[in-house]
């Protein structure tokens, strides 16, 4: 069965969805990603959906689920590159993905994740030095 590749970039995981998502693939992605977050103790997940032309309610919900799971495992999820048509469809479906952070493109999404990792690192160092 097809799998969507998950790349590790430092403390972040990068998922680029290049094929049309079907339900089984989405569920597989959710499982794989959960396992990888735990394996690498990743702090951020970047999901690039710029190649996705159709997003139905199931995929939308899966994205929201992934974001929630990642949050439980202390990782930030950023969905990037959503097309205007997809955004309109999701809103019309009533799925505004409230728990998911979004960015215009992969570059900005990576910057968001990086700033969060840096913040976390800074707090960690502060704590090591006996508080701010």
């Amino acid at each position: 069965m097809d799998r969507i590749p998950i790349l590790k970039l430092g403390e972040a995981l990068l998922v680029t969805i290049q094929v049309d998502m079907h339900d089984r693939l989405a569920m597989a992605l959710e499982e794989d990603l959960t396992a990888r977050i735990v394996d690498h103790s990743a702090k951020g997940v970047l999901i690039d959906i710029s190649a996705l032309e159709i997003v139905d309610s199931f995929i939308g919900r899966t994205l929201a689920n992934i974001a929630m799971i990642a949050k439980v495992l202390d990782a930030d999820t950023v969905v990037v590159g959503m097309r205007p048509a997809v955004a309109i469809t999701l809103v019309e479906l009533g799925l505004s993905l409230p728990g998911v952070r979004t960015a215009l493109n992969a570059e900005r999404g990576m910057a968001m994740i990086k700033s969060r990792i840096d913040d976390a690192a800074m707090i960690a160092t502060d704590e090591d030095e006996g508080g701010p």
């Binding site: 959503m82 205007p84 955004a87 309109i88 215009l104 493109n105």
Partner: protein, 290 residues
């Protein structure tokens, strides 16, 4: 039975065209109109009469949907459209054709004076025919007006949804007019496309020009905000007028979005979010304007 009066009318129309035309024009000119020249009116009346006579000569004067009436219908359609665009009122347009009744009836009366039974049947059918044509004219008039309205609507919706770039990464969307579902769609598409094109981080939706905000409009605004957020851009709503703010609270409308009273406040917030600062220029001299 129906055939005989029809042929009578057609005979009458072709025999005494000039007579009827003269009477008709006299009736029309009793109420002169500056929007239409006398010669234009005469040409219109004359060609209506000739086409009517030709249509009736086929013997089916009752049914204006028949093929014989096509030239006449086209002519009337044309006249109605011109009148609709020139600002004639519906009454004026209808009266134009209905005033043909009097001269036709007068002629019928003159020709069939000795045969009252025939005369009434004849007048009935002639009246029905002219009424039907009058109604057809009104339909065309109405259609022309509706076309104008539809065209204006599309023009307005295109004109009133511009997306302007205020700064690197900051867009403004000044909304003017009521937001309905169709317009929301256009606004949303425009905004999202512009967010991609300008790589915007923040979009300011200014609703100074929106006359009323009810629950439906608020829902449409929220949809737009949600869609922009999915694209990774934050939205600020600005330009909520005092009365609108009151109405919204009384209606229980909640926007749950950052909102500012005016565009400048929203712009200032957007600049701050992007880490930009607006400062006074150094060496402020009194003579210098800025």
């Amino acid at each position: 039975m129906a055939r005989q009066p029809a042929s009578r009318l057609s005979a009458l129309l072709s025999d005494s065209t000039q007579h009827i035309l003269a009477d008709w024009l006299a009736a029309l000119k009793a109420a002169p109109d500056t929007r239409l020249s006398a010669t234009e009116l005469e040409t219109q009346c004359e060609s209506i009469l000739t086409r009517l006579a030709r249509a009736c000569s086929d013997g089916n004067s009752g049914d204006i949907e028949a093929a014989a009436f096509v030239p006449l219908r086209e002519m009337l359609d044309d006249i109605s459209r011109t009148r609709a665009t020139h600002g004639f009122s519906p009454t004026e347009t209808a009266t134009f054709l209905l005033s043909l009744k009097a001269p036709v009836f007068a002629r019928l009366r003159a020709v069939l004076a000795s045969d009252p039974e025939h005369l009434s049947a004849e007048m009935q059918s002639a009246g029905d025919l002219i009424d039907a044509l009058g109604l057809f004219m009104m339909e065309c008039y109405q259609r022309a007006r509706e076309e104008v309205i539809i065209r204006q609507q599309t023009e307005i919706s295109e004109l009133s949804t511009p997306v302007v770039k205020l700064w690197q990464g900051i867009l403004a969307l000044p909304l003017i007019g009521t937001l309905d579902s169709a317009r929301t769609q256009v606004v949303m598409e425009n905004l999202l496309d512009s967010i991609v094109r300008y790589e915007a981080d923040i979009a300011i939706i200014d609703i100074t020009g929106v006359p009323t905000v009810d629950t439906l409009v608020a829902q449409h605004l929220l949809k737009t905000v949600a869609a922009a957020r999915l694209m990774g851009a934050d939205c600020i709503i600005s330009g909520i007028r005092p009365q609108i703010a009151q109405t919204m609270v009384h209606l229980g409308v909640e926007l749950n979005v950052i909102s500012k009273a005016n565009l400048s406040d929203a712009f200032a917030l957007a600049l701050r979010r992007l880490g930009k600062v607006v400062v006074n220029q150094r060496r402020p001299t009194p003579a210098e304007p800025v």
